[in-house]
Amino acid sequence: MGDHHHGPAKGLTRWMFTTNHKDIGTMYLWFSFAMFILGGAFAMIIRAELFQPGMQLIEPAFFNQMTTMHGLVMVFGAIMPAFVGLANWMIPMMIGAPDMALPRMNNWSFWILPPAFLLLASTLFMEGGAPAFGWTFYAPLSTTYAPPSVTYFIFSIHVLGLSSIMGSINIIATVMNMRAPGMTYMKMPLFVWTWLITAFLLVAVMPVLAGAVTMMLMDIHFGTSFFSAAGGGDPVLFQHIFWFFGHPEVYIIILPAFGVVSQIIPAFSRKPLFGYASMVYATAAIAFLSFVVWAHHMYTVGMPIAGELFFMYATMLIAVPTGVKVFNWITTMWRGALSFETPMLFCIGFLVLFTIGGFTGLMLSIAPADFQYHDSYFVVAHFHYVMVAGAVFSMTAAVYFWLPKWCGKMYNETMGKTHFWISFIGFNLAFFPQHFVGLAGMPRRIPDYALQFADFNMMSSIGAFIYGASQIMFLYNVIATIVAGKPTSDEKVWDGAEGLEWTVATPAPYHTFEVPPAVK
């Protein structure tokens, strides 16, 4: 038995060869933060160019590379790995398992990520430049008319998909097989539930994305014509395949965020989550609906009216389970005893801004109106409200919430709250005006714009710089906490927090739950 209680290995090999879920979780989290900074830097370049009308800093071709790389890095490099990192850290501790079910595969699914992104980033230095066809890479712009670096992009996407699939299989295996005795499905914390459902979504759709990029590869190098009309192919087919992956992908990003919020709001309301069972059913309903709504991204491609109506009705339906979730969170707060530490502030920020993003989503689902919204800045505003204020805010809340448990030290609360308020103001200043310019007729993905959009764009750029700068404060706060934070050894860092992770020592030991806990 003695051997099982050893601590981590020393030096670089600890990280290279580790099979420990906490080490791997930590690596995922740092990696995703690095990608968040990189993707953020791309966004800063975009907003700097859009600060004023006219081309000032960069050329249109490079602008397109920036919008493309910003999207790809944020979706695949920042948000998805961040939640996988959180899953690695928290799921075993939440269900009373000693580690993930497949620890060696866990190591591999992390370590293939950095090379994949190195490959993707290296395209910036290739002749012809990086991919410049948007993160949705519609054919034939991404095939016949793509820069040569597209082949590297395809390989990178394949590797990322591989990593995601392995990560998901691991999570499914862990949740299904490693729960402590007594931890029935309907007792699992909601974060575990949302991740279990997310993992199924990932396993279902990542192969579809792999199929899409493989067909692109064939078109580019092996003379096929899947997406080329000149050879009898169909450019619209690409969009159907892409969005069959792409829409569930949206929920892959947001469902774990729902899980995080469902852990944190009860903790700071000092009251159990309202409607646990309906939360689980709503999550499952959203996941199911996500498979049958993909073409609402394509209302303007010229679908038959029957298809248009089907996808409109199905999309509108998503408002029902999403509404249930929002009502449940608010009812959880109702007649609780609220306090407003940094994680709670970020969750309330999430609640307000994600709901606004949900409303604009409902507006976008109305096909006839979408003919005016589609591909305008209104869409850009909408998906940043759900991706940034949804996924990134909840991820930030999660870091503040669990950081004391991870490292046994308390972060600086004043700086945390300041980070929240600057983020909140910067975010809204950046993205709220984009609703206006979008409705007034500004298309997305343009490097330069007509004069009537100038004021709001300048405002938007200033907001983006503020939001970007506030993340440096976040980084500083996290590092300062790890290095020199006020030590805490309370098992329950937050008085209202519930769950198995708060029953282990603080900081969480290298191995937890070697003996399964008893779950009442």
Binding site: P60, A61, N64, P140, L141, T144, Y145, A229, A230, P235, V236, K271, P272, F274, G275, Y276, S278, T300, V301, G302, I305, E308, L309, M312, M316, A319, G323, V324, F327, N328, I330, M333, R335, A337, L338, S339, I348, L351, L362, M363, I366, A367, P368, A369, F371, Q372, H374, D375, S376, F436, L439, A440, P443, R445, I446, D448, Y449, A450, L451, F456
Partner: protein
């Protein structure tokens, strides 16, 4: 308390009131800065009303939800010394807030479906215009029953000097073209939308029309404009480097003016036919060639033939090599690359001029010339 609730409600309604006052400004074809414009078509007005209806419903629900949350934040704080209640479910309430939104959605679906059916009704059009997206310009072709089609390209007119801030920007910066689409007022115009290379999207907010232009597909949409005027739009689907630089300008005029304009275009077409039979001097070809180059080639090959997305023209093996193969590339393009087949895009006079220009400008000084008849012969094989 009551006073507070009222104030909260007003506060929540503020954005809506702002939008509504903006909408009042927008009436009559003016472009709004902060909201969708009802535009100048009946359908546009319907879409606008639908948009405001859904927005209004969202704002009311939002005010309720955020109001409850705000109340909770103010009155249920720990610092007030409250004891947290421990309730955590209520089947009645949960069913209620699942079913009620469902009925609200049905209420939204009715007007949405009606409007969508109207958008899709492209029957009984008075005239057809074929709109083709190219990297990075639009081609308009009036499909007349007598077969005498009028067609032309519509390019960005804003000069590079304004884009690169050497000159101050004009009123319609980036939203101006060399040749607008001209349409008669009060006629149902059916647009047949397609593309030559990548996917584009033809969007004119004031006409409430947006349709993807997809190579190999012909999409249909329509508009009946009730107010004469100039309406501006842009390509809405990322289509490469100059996606932001291919605006759309629609000039809606009275039926008489339209007929006059159409006759003028037809006369112009026959004049070009005459020109094709002429022989030009080097100077004439160079002057015309420069114009054609700046309109069609500059975006990829650079203002001084230095290259960019496209290969350099200055000292290139094509422009300083065999004239026949140079002409062939100009006419048929290079398949599999961004170099398009310009034979179908510019007329034989323009082709002759631009090839001559490329062979004699940028220090190429080949000294040879191409005449329109050479282009014609090359095309005929």
């Amino acid at each position: 308390m009551c006073f507070k609730a009222k104030r909260l409600f007003r506060l929540a309604l503020a954005p809506v009131l702002m939008l509504m006052s903006a909408a009042a400004l927008a009436a009559g074809g003016e472009v709004s800065q902060v909201n969708m414009s009802p535009g100048v078509t009946e359908l546009g007005k319907e879409i606008y009303d639908l948009h405001m209806l859904i927005l209004g419903i969202c704002v009311v629900i939002g005010a309720g939800v955020f109001g409850v949350m705000l109340y909770s934040i103010v009155y249920h704080r720990k610092s007030r010394g409250v004891t947290p209640s421990q309730f955590h479910e209520s089947t009645k309430v949960e069913i209620l807030w699942t079913v009620v939104p469902f009925f609200i959605l049905i209420g939204m679906a009715f007007p949405a479906t009606t409007t969508l059916l109207e958008i899709y009704d492209t029957d009984d059009a008075d005239m057809d215009v074929l709109v083709t997206g190219y990297q990075w310009k639009w081609k308009y072709e009036y499909l007349n029953e007598d077969g005498e089609n009028v067609s032309f390209f519509s390019n960005l007119r804003t000069p590079q000097s304004e884009i690169y801030n050497a000159e101050s920007k004009g009123e319609h910066y980036l939203l101006e073209v060399d040749e607008p689409l001209v349409l008669p007022v009060d006629a149902k115009v059916r647009f047949l939308v397609t593309a030559n290379d990548v996917i584009h999207s033809w969007w004119v907010p004031q006409l409430a029309v947006k349709k993807d232009a997809i190579p190999g597909f012909i999409n249909e949409t329509w508009a009946r404009t009730s107010v004469p005027g100039v309406y501006r739009g842009q390509c809405a689907e990322l289509c490469g480097k100059d996606h932001g630089f291919m605006p759309i300008v629609v000039n809606v005029v009275s039926k008489e003016e339209y007929a006059e304009w159409l006759a003028g275009k037809q006369a112009e077409a026959s004049k070009i036919k005459e020109l094709m039979a002429q022989t030009f001097s080097m100077d004439e070809l160079m002057t015309r060639g420069k114009e054609v180059y700046q309109r069609n080639c500059l975006a990829c090959h650079g203002a001084n033939g230095e290259g960019g997305v496209g290969t350099p023209i200055a000292a290139s093996p094509v422009a300083t090599g065999d004239l026949g193969s140079h002409l062939d590339i100009g006419i048929n393009g290079v398949p599999g690359t961004a170099m398009q087949a310009f034979g179908a895009q510019i007329n034989d006079v323009e082709m002759a001029a631009v090839i001559t220009y490329q062979r004699n400008a940028f220090g190429n000084n080949m000294g040879d010339m191409v005449q329109p008849i050479d282009v014609y012969n090359h095309k005929e094989g």
